[in-house]
Symmetry: C2
Subunit: 454 residues, 2 copies
Amino acid sequence: MATRSTIMDTNSFRAEGAALPEATADLVRRRGAVLGPSYRLFYRNPVHLVAGHGAHLTDADGVDYLDVYNNVASVGHAHPRVVAAIAEQAATLNTHTRYLHDAIVGYSEDLLSTLPDDVDRVMYLCTGSEANDLAVRVAQAHTGGTGVVVSAEAYHGNTALTSGLSPALGTAQPLGADVRLVPAPDGYRLSPPSGLPGWVDSEPDVGTWFADHVARAIADLERHGVRFAALLVDSIFSSDGVFPTGFLAPAVEVVHRAGGVLIADEVQPGFARTGSTFWGFERHGVVPDLVTMGKPMGNGIPVSGLAARSEVLADFGESIPYFNTFGGNPVSIAAAQAVLDVMRDEDLQANALRVGTRMREELRALVRDHPRIGDVRGAGLYVGVDVVTDRESRTPDVAGALDLVEALRERRVLTSVCGPGNVLKLRPPLVFDDADLDRLLTELDDALRGLGEG
Amino acid sequence: MATRSTIMDTNSFRAEGAALPEATADLVRRRGAVLGPSYRLFYRNPVHLVAGHGAHLTDADGVDYLDVYNNVASVGHAHPRVVAAIAEQAATLNTHTRYLHDAIVGYSEDLLSTLPDDVDRVMYLCTGSEANDLAVRVAQAHTGGTGVVVSAEAYHGNTALTSGLSPALGTAQPLGADVRLVPAPDGYRLSPPSGLPGWVDSEPDVGTWFADHVARAIADLERHGVRFAALLVDSIFSSDGVFPTGFLAPAVEVVHRAGGVLIADEVQPGFARTGSTFWGFERHGVVPDLVTMGKPMGNGIPVSGLAARSEVLADFGESIPYFNTFGGNPVSIAAAQAVLDVMRDEDLQANALRVGTRMREELRALVRDHPRIGDVRGAGLYVGVDVVTDRESRTPDVAGALDLVEALRERRVLTSVCGPGNVLKLRPPLVFDDADLDRLLTELDDALRGLGEG
């Protein structure tokens, strides 16, 4: 299997023509006959799901899968409190924000109480892409600039604007003319060899290194007559390959000195995922000017948000009309409120911290002597396992990582990859418990034996 | 009240500082303290809704309102079959399209069966804005051009790209550099005076006139070295002021001869709204290359779609990865399937045709001698009432239309305006029945007396 040109093409199959059970093959064929050619499936042997509960999914044959991938169903698949909130609100009223409704006000007060004091206003949309699209427009209106800096393998959305801010989409998708890339803060490859996966959690120099690259990107924009507007980053650098160390503060200083703003893309790290803090940017000790959020916000009901410092939002809000028909509708807000309530009542942030920490510790012990695993890193329940050809060169092994993902799928464990395609991405629902982790470790141990032979 | 610079600012209030009941004033104040400044409310005296059923909404004091505005809740507010479908699926499974799922395949087959044979593939997204954003990118990838032609008061979405295709947002929002406008096909003002509202339904010359303007816009793009990609139009020209006559065929010929494609924005006219056909473009006897749909698709659950001819979709689909996390999720699809089922089982297209036709007939009789109503027009349950300073000059009367909207709100009838702000927009849920219409006519008659004195 050759290295793919884009992470979006990795673990991505049409499955038409594959040797599949007849019922699966028929569904794949019918699917291919009606859906656009952009649609892809996970795994050479795709999974046909019919039900979910907690961190578990069930396929059409009644087989149970362990979900170590889905961060949307963050409080667990089909959580009864979220389901009840959705059902009750849908049976009562579902309109839009041009009428007064209590729930959006109460939820906004609740949501903003989790954010820094200065981040004091929120807008609702339906997808993370919409949130990032709007955040960039708001940043541009506020700064008067257009230049945006993103990381080298970033993914920030699928709209025309955000696709141009998403190098992860591959070279067929042009970047925006006013976009500059900075290398991913890959502390693993920046550091001297230690031989032990996991050392990167304490590496101190990444912050200065990253800030320097941001400064150079801003200088390059200015050299081209492009005024700088924003640094747009996911604070756990999910798409780049999961780089969790708290190193953003020096870069944010550079951004502010240059007159730009920080947009924290919390679509991945937000809502307790990273364990030690509720929002990913908090781990870096920075206060963003704009915060975008999505995926887990409604546990699967489409809802996203843009929170902001009011003075940053003002220029856009006063001059350009903005209305999102479905954004902040009562059903989406009911789902979002239930998610926030469940996260608190079930103490899922603490669970993410505890189980995530145990996951990294046990994984590091498990792969200690496995020459194809170069690093285990992450924060809370966002963990990356860096697959390499060997520990000396640290060359990313995309084929090896994909083989591992497929081997896990055959063992009924759902994962995928990120980064250049060589990083096994472990990102389960936050209800993932010790028994789930034991099962993951057992199956991964088994799958790794196959990789060793590869 | 002065004419506003943009339709999006019309019937659009913050209501802070307005003389309101204490509980309402408190909610408005709390809302203003947490939501971004872009948020606006309908009516100087905003409506605080708590429940809905059919074409009726209930406020916090238990007062019943007649809903003559909301096209999202197209099969009626809180329709029990849609609610049940959402609740059942949410309690079972809600994931994404990288796993196989039966429902999206079955729904896609069902949806495509309502479209022309050539329109044979579909993609799912969450909002109409996302659908139009993607449609334009697909059209650009297929044609190799970038130029897009839209109508003079069009609204096609709130992303960076679609905002630049939405002159209705006002002059503070720049149009895209490769965007050209054609005048709205305002058959009312193009025709010689007849003295009788409603004549425009039989006007034959608008088609040639509109095609000529499209040809000139394409020529202007080419003169500037911009290759033409698409004509993007809502076939009932909702935002322009509701222009229903079937006149698009000559323009579509011009588009195809110039190597461009037709994107039919069916977010407003689609899903049986226009009565005589299920899709708005069918009334024009044209086959689009791309069809975008949204609002009523899931009766309020965020779901939208892009249907396309496969050969038009191929260039984008083969080169650019596209994945929409929430797009086509099982809950959204369950809602969409229930909407399609209810529309058929309750024969809502026939209801839209019958009640909409009666609405226009009775309205024309009602306003026959009212000098401030210049025209009554529409298709099915999308009706525009053109408010003018006088029937001779036909000058749009924005203040008069807004007074009418406010007078109707005080009479517990919810409407709004479109076009340059002078067209009363009547666009109720498709379950709107004869008793609802009688109530609208009674209240409108009363409200018009106030307008006469204005």
